[in-house]
Structures are given as C-alpha cells and as structure tokens.
Symmetry: C2
Subunit: 278 residues, 2 copies
C-alpha cells in the first residue's frame, strides 16, 4: 500500500467567535468555521467559488487560541482530513472532518472580504489546498451530468503515518518511535471533472494515486429524509504512482515501511454507497 | 518567534540516473536532479518557466530508491529546505538544499515532456511549491530593475520543529518526544515581484510571515570569480502573521512552544550580503 499523505492548507476568515468545549476526558476542543472564495479557472473563465469549512482543533492548540479569536479574523490552518466512525442507534456512522494541527492568525488589514447573506465576512482570494496519497478502495466511477459534463468519483484509503518520520528522513531514531503509533486508515472521497474525470475513469481498485485539489462540502438529503454533509477533495491534479515496476531495480518491496491495511478489510469502514449523494 | 513551517512539494522528471554514495559514517546519500516547466501567469500572459532542482535524499529512503531510478522517470518529492553551514579555508560557507523526506515515482505514460539542449527530459506542467513560515532577519528590501519592475528581497529565519508534533496536534505524548530534538534554524531567501514586491517592501525585521511560492535557482559569479548558486523561494503569496494582538484574548505568549532563536544571534549564520547576487 502506498504510504499515506494527508495535508490540508487553508486561509479563510472566521465566520463567528468559536466556542470552546471539553471532552469528558478533559481535552479542549475548538470548532471553527472558516469562509473563503477560491478563484477557479475552467473553460468558462475565472470564477469565484465560495466555501465554508468546519475545522476542529484539539488539545493544547485549542487552549492556546480558545479565547483569542473573533469573527472576521483571517486564519491560516495547517491540518489534515480525519475519518471517524461510531455507532448510533445500531448503525455505523462515519464522518470526514478537517483537523487542524496548527492555526495562525493573519493580519487582515489589507485583505479583501465579502459580506454574505448572514452578515459573515468571507475572504476573497482564499487558500484551499489538499494533498493526498493513498490507494483506491474501488474502481473510479465515471458519470455524466445531464448537461454532459464528465465527473469521476473515487474513494481513497489513506494510511496515517507518524509525522515524526517525515522530518527525520530515515534517521535511525525514527524506528524506535514507531512502536508508539497506532496504524489508522482514513477513507476519503475524491471527485474530478471534465478531462481529468475522463482520465481518472480508468483508475482501478487498489491503484496508488496522488491527489492535489481543494476541499468542497457537499450536502444532500438521504432516502430517510436526513440532511447529510460530506467533505471531499475536488481534484485539480491526479497522478498514478508506480511501485518502480519496469525500472532497473525490479519490483519494490511489497509493503511500505509505514505498514499497510488490506483494502478489502478497510472497505467495511467505508460509508455505504446509498449514503453518498448522486 | 513564529513557529516554523518548511514544506516543499515537487513533481519533475529525473535528468539522469542518480549515483548513490555513502558518508564516512555509512549513511546512504542520493542526489537527484529534477527538471520541470512551471506554468506562470503574470501581466504578459501565461509563460512556461523551466527549472532544474537538485534534491538530496538520505538514509533509508536513499537505500530504498538508489538502484531503481532511471533518467526521465517522473517523481513526486515531499521535502523541505535545509540550510547548512561549514568552514572551508577559514571561511564560513553556507548552502540551502532541497531535502526530500519522501520520494514517489509517478507513472509517466501520459505525461508530456520536452527535450532540452542536453538531451534531458523536462516535465511540462510540473509541480513546484514551497510553504514557509518564519521571521524576517532584516527589513525587506525593495528595488527596481532597469525596466522599472519592483522586486523585493527578504530573508527568513525558519525554526525546525519536530514533525511529530504536526500529526499529534497537542496530544500529551508530544511533549516527551521533544527532548530528543535539537533546535535548528534555517535561513532562507525569498523574493517577490511587482505588486507583491511593493506590498512586501514595508515588512520589517522580526515580523513573522507566511510565504507560498515556487523554488527558483539563481546563479551568479562572485567578486572573486567563483560561480555561486542559491535556491530561493519566489513568492506568489505573502501574509503577515499576527500574534493575536488587538484581539479579545490580549497578547499571545511571547515564546512559541517549539522554542525560538534570537534573530540577532541567528544573523551571523546568514550568508554575507556580498555573497548574494544583485
């Protein structure tokens, strides 16, 4: 399985003063909503696309910023997508959240915002980037909108890995740290449009891919009448990873050093198809 | 001092089969040159700008990929900028290198390349992104080219921090790992052009900023006739960070939890002005 990569970078304005709460175990939790406009270029020209993303900050970082943030404050967020599951009324539920590792207030004096219908400030020229690496949990699915625009849907299994390894680049001490780490897999939804969708339509289950894109929120009403939300990545770039096959060195080791999960085994954690929009 | 952030993402093609070497201590070192074309949009339209970057891979990652890479192979690199100093002939020398934390071969079957004058393949539509956060070691310097184009130069002190903290988001066990970490500061050069340069011209020594941009290589001949090279970041976006001043919570703690260096103290590590081009 491809090593996992799961990074999110956002710049937006806070829609409201965030409330701090604590888990029963005493950990601080801060939930923020950031708002921004992305500049997106497609065949119709450059458009401004508004977004609102909820971001969760935990622990010491939450305590640090809990009382210091006001509505309208521009923030930089460095984080990742976090997939969580739980049981409710006998059903398996899941959610993808944006988890901030770090949060940095920005000087907004020269930043341009627009006021939305609720009187909230939304940052123009925001930043909204996600970089993911993982394996497809099923074949990519290519469909066409009623207007004939191609759209491809993919779901990606992304291994969490100790971030300590990233900075240590294979130094020996990284190994001893690994034993403190619990392997975890995030199941993340990816979407591509137009030419990229047609290219992606040929991707098959198990293939390791690199995704660069922006976070979008979809909401829809389920068959049971419930309102559902899903954070997914709208790809602006997709690349197939190889495992070095066909290269001089022959096939690479089967197992990445960050470990791996069986795709089949992971599938049961994935939201059932009928829960997904479209 | 602002917490440091130092991330580099590249996609390019290998110009040649890399050679593996070993340090006297037995650590594997792989040096690669990646080549790509960036699509850059400015007032003259969209231009393709070629780049060649040397990337260094150490330790286990170097051993893993040492024999498996051929000229023309497209690669994804996740890494950072590494500032190193040493003594040579009684002089203090320094260099900024691109250090890969991870390397992933990409499937190049549908990628477009151009052949350069040396017969090397250079990837079109490459990826070349750097994200930095740090403090200015001196006032930004605004100049004008003979054609009247504004250009600003900045130098940034970026604290290295244990990557383990990024993924652990303030969980308690992060604290106990910190003691294994040696604080290090990277001195990195940043450049901005046109409107962004004029905005940046007002930035002052010590200010914490966020930089998003692409890596460029400058080369020039020093006053002593030596050829010099410098990897710097050409900013596409710059933001001032605040420390929360003027916000409800009052001033933030003076010292970031990743520690800090005194800017003055760090300055002696910085390349002397006369060694810099222009």
């Amino acid at each position: 399985m491809a090593r996992g990569l799961n990074r999110v970078y956002l710049i937006g304005t806070l829609t409201a003063r965030p409330d701090m709460r604590y888990t029963p175990g005493g950990m601080a939790v801060l939930e923020l909503t950031l708002a921004g406009n992305d500049l997106v270029q497609d065949e119709t020209g450059i458009r401004e696309i508004p977004w609102y993303h909820r971001v969760k900050l935990l622990g010491r970082q939450a305590e640090r910023w809990g009382d210091a943030l006001e509505a309208g404050q521009p923030l930089f967020v460095e984080g990742r997508l976090e997939y969580r599951t739980w049981e409710a009324e006998g059903q398996r539920k899941s959610i993808v959240e944006i988890r901030a590792d770090f949060l940095d207030p920005l000087d907004g004096r020269q930043m341009e915002t627009v006021e939305d219908a609720r009187g909230q400030m939304r940052l123009r020229n925001a930043l909204n980037q996600a970089i993911l690496m993982g394996n497809l949990t099923r074949d990519a699915e290519l469909r066409y909108t009623p207007q004939g625009t191609p759209v491809a849907r993919m779901s990606l299994a992304v291994n969490e890995r100790p971030r300590g390894q990233a900075g240590l680049g294979g130094e020996p001490r990284a190994a001893s740290r690994r034993e403190h780490w619990e392997e975890k897999t995030h199941f993340l939804e990816v979407q591509a449009w137009r030419d990229l969708a047609e290219w992606a339509g040929e991707l098959r289950k198990g293939e390791p891919i690199l995704v660069i894109g922006r976070l979008v929120n979809d909401s829809w009403t389920s068959s049971t009448g419930e309102r559902r939300y899903l954070t997914r990545v709208e790809a602006t770039r997709l690349e197939r990873l190889t495992r070095g096959s066909g290269q001089a060195g022959g096939p690479r080791p089967q197992k990445d050093r960050t470990g791996g999960v069986d795709i089949e085994e992971g599938l049961e954690d994935f939201p059932p198809e009928e829960d997904l929009p479209f």
